[in-house]
């Protein structure tokens, strides 16, 4: 019997409670007097149909435009394991994820706007602008998540390929594609979810209500309309879309047959420098860094002194760090147990259930934080003073939102670890802590580092929940940026945004190095 089934069960129950309970709370609220549940036939209206098809269309396109190039770029990174700036570029690729949406929009506009470096004029606003921004967010993320799959290809496979004199296409066909196939569907699902739930980007760069996504409709129903029932129905619809997409992509997934080998050194021996691959990396790097660079340029001329001398900045910075680190720890812990459970299920032949467990962990992402937060509020407020619970709630929700990232970055390595060493561990009676200490830590610390760093950075850049609860002294840097923007202090906001980015970069670097060890990703 698996000793990890119990904590994993706990995590699953917790997930269920955190997601289902608020939805139930909202439904219950919507049925109370004072709330006229709007016309529940609304989902048949042309408006909702249009919203549905647009949400799906833009998310699909954004996913393809982000992930397909990301495969090429990740491959180039994998086959070029040493060139100047490689480590820096990979760390840079984690940054777009943490840029608050409104700041990213400004960055994209600085580059492609009418006064920008590559002016696109009015055509920026529409599907084109949405894609530009979504690719900026998700291409680098996908690169980071796909890269480890190349590194998991054992060295002797590459050697064998060389001996057999395989050409690039054959290597791709017989070595790389099979390795990639394990993780690609999951990464696509994650990117799809991120694009499906994207909000400020879609609304601002979309050019108008033609580009309305489900997320906007949900937000609308929880604000001016305040119709909780409708919000729950729409959120479920969004969940359904994601499940559909998950069903499609998981069909593509093949878990690799893992052979028992101790050789996990992970790169091609003598990589030939290929100008084309370097060019590809260069293009991707330029694409990703341009909006970031424009933010830097904007900020450098900004009022640094007055931003830094403000005591609110330091308080927010401390809060941001606290929330980011707590959420990362919690999320990685939950993901760890979930993944172990899923991996042991898979090994005992229950692949379907293994996938379900993983899916449960990933898919909660698409229930909007606004819905979860409002639902939690409904449940908690009769019993406790919610203002005193802001931190725990914000941390819990952020940990939840980080879970899919943990599953994507840690999952494949952990599954391999199980497949390779379970028998060995059994014969050595290596269990629990000692298994972690001697086997899992040395082999999994790199993906663990990536997972922790990703979630920490993500939680640090999050606005969703904290703005919802709001208290006098729990501002985070993101909230501070929005407050500054709201008070005409746009130069101040760009400086704060730069500081947030630097903080995220530092935390990312420290976590990835500290946990993951010195080897470059």
């Amino acid at each position: 019997m698996n000793s990890r089934a119990i904590p994993a069960g706990l995590v699953l129950c917790l997930l269920l409670v955190i997601v289902i309970a608020p939805l139930a709370g909202l439904l219950n609220l919507g049925a109370m007097p004072g709330f006229e549940p709007g016309d529940l036939q609304f989902w048949r209206s042309t408006y909702i149909r249009r919203v549905l098809s647009f949400s799906l269309w833009q998310a699909l396109l954004s996913t393809l435009c982000s992930v397909l190039p990301a495969i090429l770029v990740a491959r180039a990174f994998a086959l070029q394991p040493s060139f100047p700036l490689r480590g820096f570029l990979l760390r840079l690729f984690a940054l777009p994820l943490v840029v608050p949406a409104v700041v990213a929009v400004m960055g994209v506009v600085s580059v492609y706007g009418s006064d920008g470096w590559l002016p696109l004029g009015r055509s920026l606003y529409g599907l084109g602008g949405i894609l530009l921004a979504h690719v900026f967010f998700n291409l680098p993320l996908a690169v980071r998540l796909l890269l480890p799959h190349w590194q998991a290809i054992p060295r002797h496979h590459w050697q064998l390929a060389e001996q057999l004199d395989m050409n690039a296409w054959q290597r791709w066909r017989f070595l790389e594609w099979p390795a990639l196939r394990e993780g690609l569907p999951g990464v696509m699902l994650l990117v799809f979810m991120l694009c499906l739930t994207s909000f400020a980007v879609v609304l601002t760069l979309g050019g108008g209500p033609k580009s309305t996504t489900l997320e906007v409709a949900i937000y609308q129903s929880l604000r001016f309309d305040f119709d909780p029932t409708r919000a729950v129905v729409l959120a479920s619809l969004q969940l359904g879309l994601c499940l559909m997409f998950a069903g499609l992509t998981l069909k593509l997934q093949r878990l690799p047959e893992v052979e028992i080998t101790v050789d996990v050194a992970a790169r091609a021996d003598k990589p030939a420098v290929r100008p084309l691959q370097l060019l590809l990396i260069g293009l991707a790097a330029i694409y990703v860094s341009m909006p970031l660079l424009s933010m830097l340029v904007d900020a450098l001329g900004g009022p640094f002194a007055s931003v830094i001398l403000n005591s609110a900045l330091w308080q927010s910075m401390a809060n941001t760090l606290f929330i980011g680190l707590s959420a990362a720890l919690l999320s990685v812990l939950a993901g760890w147990y979930l993944l172990h459970y899923s991996a042991s299920l898979a090994l005992s032949g229950q692949r379907g259930r293994a996938r379900l467990v993983e899916l449960a962990g990933s898919i909660v992402y698409v229930v909007p934080p606004l819905v979860i937060g409002t639902g939690m509020f409904v449940l908690l407020s009769p019993h406790v003073d919610v203002f005193g619970w802001v931190y725990p709630i914000v941390i819990a929700v952020n940990a939840l939102m980080g879970l899919p990232f943990v599953i994507r970055s840690l999952g494949p390595a952990l599954r391999q670890n199980h497949a390779r060493y379970d028998l060995l561990c059994q014969s050595l009676a290596l269990r629990g802590w000692s298994r972690f200490r001697y086997l899992e830590w040395p082999l999994l610390r790199r993906p663990l580092g990536l997972a922790t760093a990703l979630v920490a950075a993500l939680a640090m850049g999050d606005l969703g929940v904290i703005a919802l609860f709001g208290t006098p002294d729990t501002a985070t840097l993101t909230l501070l940026i929005y407050q500054q923007l709201g008070a005409y202090l746009i130069p101040h906001a760009t400086v704060t945004a730069l500081l947030l980015l630097l903080l995220c970069l530092a935390v990312f670097w420290l976590l990835e190095r500290g946990i993951g060890g010195r080897t470059n990703a």
Partner: protein, 335 residues
């Protein structure tokens, strides 16, 4: 996990502290929006000034905006912690009144500097403003002189507006167009939509894009240029004067029926209408104070356009029609 537990503990201790402090001096809890409580908003000065005179603690809790405040009240009902609410506007007062949570203020309001008489016995205004299209004088030489001209001139300026489903100024423009065009509003939006560069989620995004020169004009307030004049010594920005008048937004406060601190809440409302509070408003909230003589405003305010006549729908009418009007807008703009 440890950090999480610790944060629970910290939250719990903080709670104890708060309730401990409550026993010593009375606390007045006010729900407001977070640009009011932020360092650059009126909050810090208001708190200091009021606490100096009341012998109490003023707790300002900042939510996202007026809509969030109202929704929070609806969620909490009678259990709300708030003694007072500050920051909903006249588009929401009818709905707020309908919750039955508010108490009559019982104050007379003689010092009003509003352009119209005020007869609401539940809510009292603290500031007001007018929506307007702001432009950069150096980039747009001849701004339209009326809303009709803006809508109907095919070669007119490009504009940035906000979404009425998510933002207060966005809703303001919707009502403005309705006021001027009535039944023809849908057709007006159809004509205007060709020159709308984008419809943003909130004011910040649109204004930020405007400062990046993405369009000739942005929907904001007549008082926006005052910020640039006073805080940045920048004279380039101006609001276009529209001959039909400008749609008005009045921000109000009201006390709650279930409050244990009713007399303190009334004291605060009185303080809110006093000169001390009112003089804080112009350069922190960048709005017109609701009870301050014109000559007490910063001199730069005299350079702003005269937005009269003020256009405003009755709050009950807004409550009844808003959904229908927003749907009508959606229909046109989604084509």
């Amino acid at each position: 996990m440890y950090l999480f537990l610790r944060s629970c503990l910290v939250a719990f201790l903080a709670l104890l502290l708060v309730s401990g402090a409550q026993a010593a001096v009375p606390t007045l809890t006010v729900y407001t929006y977070d640009s009011f409580t932020s360092d650059w908003g009126p909050g810090p000065q208001v708190k200091k000034a009021f606490e100096a005179q009341c012998g109490c603690k003023l707790e300002l809790l900042g939510l996202e905006d007026g809509v969030s405040i109202l929704n929070r009240l609806k969620l909490e009902g009678d259990n709300t912690r708030a003694d007072l609410v500050l920051g909903i506007d006249t588009n929401l007062t009818a709905e707020a009144r309908a919750t039955g949570l508010f108490e009559a203020h019982g104050l007379s309001f003689e010092s009003s500097s509003l352009p119209q008489p005020w007869a609401d016995d539940t809510f009292l205004p603290y500031d007001y403003g007018y929506f307007a299209f702001v432009y950069n004088r150096e980039r747009l030489r001849t701004p339209p002189s009326s809303l009709r001209q803006l809508v109907e001139d095919e070669n007119g300026p490009t504009i940035l507006v906000q979404d009425p489903r998510t933002s207060t100024p966005g809703l303001g423009l919707l009502l403005w167009v309705k006021k001027v065009y009535g039944d023809q509003a849908a057709a007006a939006w159809a004509r205007l939509s060709k020159r709308i560069v984008t419809v943003s989620k909130g004011w910040s995004e649109a204004y930020g894009l405007f400062l990046k020169n993405e369009a000739d004009m942005v929907l904001s307030y007549t008082t926006s240029p005052a910020y640039h004049m006073i805080a940045e010594q920048d004279q380039r920005f101006a609001a276009a004067h529209f001959s039909e008048g400008h749609y008005q937004q009045i921000e109000v406060a009201g006390m709650l029926r279930g409050s244990q601190q009713q007399s303190l809440a009334r004291d605060f409302l009185e303080f809110m209408l006093s000169e001390r509070f009112q003089t804080i408003i112009p350069t922190t909230n960048w709005m017109y104070p609701a009870a301050l003589a014109k000559d007490r405003l910063p001199p730069e305010f005299s350079q702003l356009i005269d937005p009269s006549p003020a256009l405003l729908f009755d709050d009950k009418q807004v409550a009844a029609q808003r959904k229908i009007w927003v749907d009508e807008w959606l229909e046109v703009m989604s084509r």
